[in-house]
Symmetry: C2
Subunit: 372 residues, 2 copies
């Protein structure tokens, strides 16, 4: 019996799920925001994912509902679940990805390593936290932030007075990290899990810019710890499908959890070429409770670079002839989105055995695409 997966959200993550769906012979249906969404090829419904009637209609005749993003209101998901629809990850897990304060609470309860944090509802709460942390803190809106949006480095309460008017704010200790890592895993409803070797991520203006798999010169102990953290989060929260755990590595070699995502994640795009099983294939296998694939690397190193829009003219595709000609071994991925400065338009991945060469090739390939 052919299985059908319904994906809410028509962005690039849904687009990249189409490939393993075709390969594995799974039916994929996408609930997209607009007819020109990135995953429009598999779109069977266009609508508003906050409307329970529309989502309920979409869920008819699919075996499982999963997501391109984490923004579907919890009430919508809970009503689907009450109606007997398999939602993966479930609302009971996804609520932690939707609220950064709830996430810190559960991670603390699970005994996992996180930066010191507090919920601030008043100016006094903020002042108290700043006093404790040398007068500096990271403030985050509990909901709705992504790619650097909803995050500020603050030294006084005034800097987030606008946010405070709207409700609670998350305050976090500013961690002096030496680099950022990400630990990916997938978990089936039956509990089986697989991890990938931890990757190194480079952010630029709060947006993921470059990913190196595996992270360079990481101790065996840290490699193991990073995987352990991902597995404990997945199990502790009951995640089904892909989980990405963004981590800070401190000078002392400590690993601290920064953020979580319960879906394929930008830090895992390298896996399309770099791993026996990509995160997109693994996500589909996991949410359908199919056996998970090997996460063994296809090459010693993989480097992925995001292609961000330069301006509204640079639609990537017009850069192809030059990029393909100059870099015949680089793998280009486009998301079919209209161009806009700073928008994630695509990515390029290079794999190989010499990290210096792989990084240089990936950066050169990206540079050709990004020339204004």
């Amino acid at each position: 019996m052919k299985k059908t997966v319904g994906v809410i959200g028509g962005g690039q993550l849904a687009r990249m799920m189409i490939v393993p769906a075709l390969e594995l012979g799974l039916e994929i249906k996408v609930f997209a925001e607009s007819a020109d969404a990135s995953a429009s090829m598999a779109a069977t419904q266009i609508g508003d994912y906050t409307k329970i009637e529309e989502i309920r209609q979409f869920s008819q005749g699919v075996d499982v509902i999963t997501f391109d993003h984490e923004h579907v209101p919890l009430e919508v998901l809970e009503q689907l679940e009450a109606a007997g629809v398999a939602v993966r990850p479930a609302s009971s897990a996804l609520r932690f990805a939707q609220n950064k304060i709830e996430m810190r609470k559960i991670l603390g309860e699970l005994g996992l390593p996180i930066p010191d944090w507090a919920e601030a509802n008043t100016v006094e709460d903020i002042d108290r936290f700043l006093l404790k942390h040398q007068g500096i803190a990271i403030a985050k809106t509990p909901t709705g932030g992504y790619d650097g949006k909803g995050v500020r480095v603050i030294r006084s309460a005034e800097e987030i007075s606008d946010w405070l008017q709207l409700g609670a704010v998350l305050l976090e200790q500013k961690v002096n990290f030496v680099r950022e890592l990400a630990s990916l895993c997938a978990r089936r409803p039956s509990g089986d899990m697989r991890t990938w070797p931890v990757v190194e991520t480079v952010q630029k203006d709060g947006v993921c810019s470059e990913v190196i798999s595996p992270a360079k010169d990481l101790s065996e102990q840290s490699l193991h710890l990073a995987s352990e953290i991902a597995l404990k989060v997945a199990e502790g929260i009951g995640v089904t499908g892909m989980l990405a755990v963004e981590l800070f590595e401190t000078e002392a070699g400590e690993l601290l959890i920064n953020e979580l995502a319960m879906r394929p994640h930008n830090s895992g795009h390298f896996s399309i070429e770099g791993s026996k099983t990509s995160q997109f294939e693994q996500h589909l296998r996991a949410v359908l409770d199919l056996p998970l694939g090997s996460t063994e690397p296809n090459a010693p190193y993989s480097v992925m670079i995001n292609l961000l829009g330069v301006d509204s003219e640079n639609d990537l595709v017009s850069r192809y002839p030059a990029a393909l000609a100059a870099h015949p071994s680089a793998k280009f991925h486009t998301y079919g989105k209209s161009a806009r400065a700073g928008r994630k338009m695509g990515h390029v991945t290079v794999v190989g055995s010499d990290l210096v060469k792989v990084v240089a090739e990936a950066r050169a390939a990206a540079a050709v695409c990004l020339k204004a």
Copy 2:
């Protein structure tokens, strides 16, 4: 500017072209035979590819027309070309793939190595050819044959009296080959070409069953010769897109051309995982005259095994849980076709550095899928 490729035919080759189209940000439109065709996800028109009005309508708004199969009537293609549509491969090349007698003529003119052959229109023609070749020959219908259909080993004219009534028959010397090989290349309209290392193909009942890339223990000279043959055919005939040249290797180490295909070919499916650029991506690049990708292998060996239908019950997908569980490193590909004994339902590919292990793993993975 986004390019649009129109594919006539909705089979598994078109289905596997969808993946690189998504990755490279190309628009792909498929003219399918039926709504449940293998490539139905990209189907924009359902119809009869022998009808010029339907094909003409389909060709509106695509940058180039290419094919999932070689059965579109030449008149249809010539009319499209006369109307200014870019057809790749062009009718001037495709006519050799559509008629096995025309193919032998051009290959002979190009001075390429082929088995001795003759066009037979009478019983006398057949008797003469049999006399010359120790009383045995291969007879082929000039048009319409595939996967062993339209091919007979004959020892007398009576054995093909039914064919002779319909027109000319191709007779070929029965080659005592030690194995079969296939040499793949891609060619752009601008003339740029890329080859892959020659593969070894195993046929069972006239259908491709197993492909090993690269062919085992082939001399440098034969490797080079096989590529040279493919390049000379592509150039001599003016092929654009993928070309597969099926070859016989004789005991003396000679290479003789058996058949040609001017499209992605079963012998190239290994390249999805086994090569930096798959034959499907290369085909799209070639027909759109984009720079060709690297054909460097991703691993020392790749083995592909076809998954043929056992009976109408075995739809492959129902075998997945067992196959995925037992073989987490094997890559399964399904074509979304209804099950039928002997039908190409999908394939499985394993890559690695130890050929014995790779072959064993691929065969074991296929066996799980094919258990009745």
